[in-house]
Symmetry: C2
Subunit: 250 residues, 2 copies
């Protein structure tokens, strides 16, 4: 357990385009900001810039909507081409109601619009989720560890809505170099009682913490969480996905 955390945005990240080396961009921005990186720093990177760098961007002009996308999109006042991309990025529709599509993606995420998003991209384009966010996080971790000379961890994060609660929160899609779940089962409380079911989603909490300094429109898609080094270790984002057989809500 950490006792102190320090979280800061990495300023001066330029607009990211296909093929840019994100690790070089981030290391350069840190250098210009005069920020030294320490062992155990966790880099939280918005999915949006990972998708842009990897080319996971679709021009809507190339999309021919299916009849379902045309009918439902038109009825809901949504662009049928965007709806079509959402359907293509889904392996199962969990809810499709009141203009909202909640679907399960091929990666196993359950989220609105299969993670397809039109914000912070040029008009006429949408971004998709990275095809393998864990692999993206791992590549970034290796490169940032090399460039900074420090063992660091990485989280590729996106804001997801939740059932029952208003607002979105940042969650970890891809994780590298960090234990995403802190298993407290078997630890004993001050009364000697063994904790029965407490597994804390540390990677999601780190992602949420970082989001507070990231900003949706302010061009700060990268933050550093310092003080979380105790959780460095092997891990990935896939382990944060509850298997369908254990889930009561799909």
């Amino acid at each position: 357990m950490a006792t102190e955390l320090h979280i800061f945005a990495v300023p001066g990240i330029p607009e990211i385009t296909h093929g840019l080396d994100l690790a070089q961009v981030i290391a350069g921005a840190l250098r210009r900001a005069g920020r030294a990186i320490e062992a155990g720093d966790v880099f939280v990177v918005a999915q949006k810039i990972v998708s842009k760098a990897e080319g996971a961007v679709v021009p809507l002009a190339d999309v021919i909507p299916s009849p379902l996308a045309v009918e439902w999109g038109t009825a809901c006042g949504r662009d049928p081409a965007v709806v079509e991309v959402v359907l293509r990025e889904s392996r199962r529709i969990v809810r499709m109601d009141r203009g909202v599509i909640i679907s399960e993606t091929p990666h196993g995420f359950i989220c609105a619009n299969a993670g397809v998003d039109a914000s912070n991209v040029p008009p006429g384009y949408v971004t998709l989720l990275p095809p393998d966010a864990d692999a993206s996080a791992a590549r970034l971790q290796a490169a940032l560890t090399g460039l900074t000379g420090q063992p660091v961890a990485t989280i590729v994060a996106d804001t997801f809505g939740r059932p029952w609660r208003e607002g979105v929160v940042n969650v970890a899609l891809g994780v590298a170099g960090l234990t995403p779940l802190l298993d407290c089962r078997g630890a004993t409380d001050p009364f000697g009682r063994s904790l029965q079911s407490t597994v804390i989603a540390v990677a999601d909490e780190i992602a949420a913490a970082a989001e507070l300094v990231m900003g949706k429109t302010a061009g700060t898609p990268v933050a550093v969480v310092r003080g979380a080094g105790g959780w460095l270790g092997a891990g990935n984002g896939r382990s944060l996905l509850r298997p369908a057989s254990m889930d009561l809500f799909r």
Copy 2:
């Protein structure tokens, strides 16, 4: 939007019992730790100690389980008295399956076991959620503002599970002095596109961030989040609850 956050646990909080003045306890612990409080600091306090201070603790010996609690508890290997308390604290059962009860509480929270919990309490007792977490947060905010001489905000938080994802994350039950939702709708991205649906659950993200330094068994049920002063203002935890009419998952 904050650009830097600093988060620290308040050390040396003693075991909390019914009737203790939490604000005095927290202010005393800060004093002993030599920690000065700054304007805009957000205190995140574990629901568990709020419930204990307010006497929201039930001795299981006094509980006579209903036939439903006896049958289901026995079948699932759970104490029928605890199951009975969970049923009494529920206004609606959302799921009751595989030993898990997800229910809607009278306050409107949807969570496992209606927030009833046996950890960090003496054997034979369980805690309930505070009857009005917003009122608890407001009392604590007023008292801490008085004791520290600084305008501060408070969040009464608990760890909740989520559909689809493994692990629990801390969320805000009660909020005082803080805007819990940051509404970015209408803000424009660098491409001039107005954000359509982004409302960020800032209070939940602050609660999640604080949990990283709080620890489930380490006796650190209070943390301070510094740097979030930009979100100080009117607000409550109720506004984080999605109305049933807008919810697709109950």
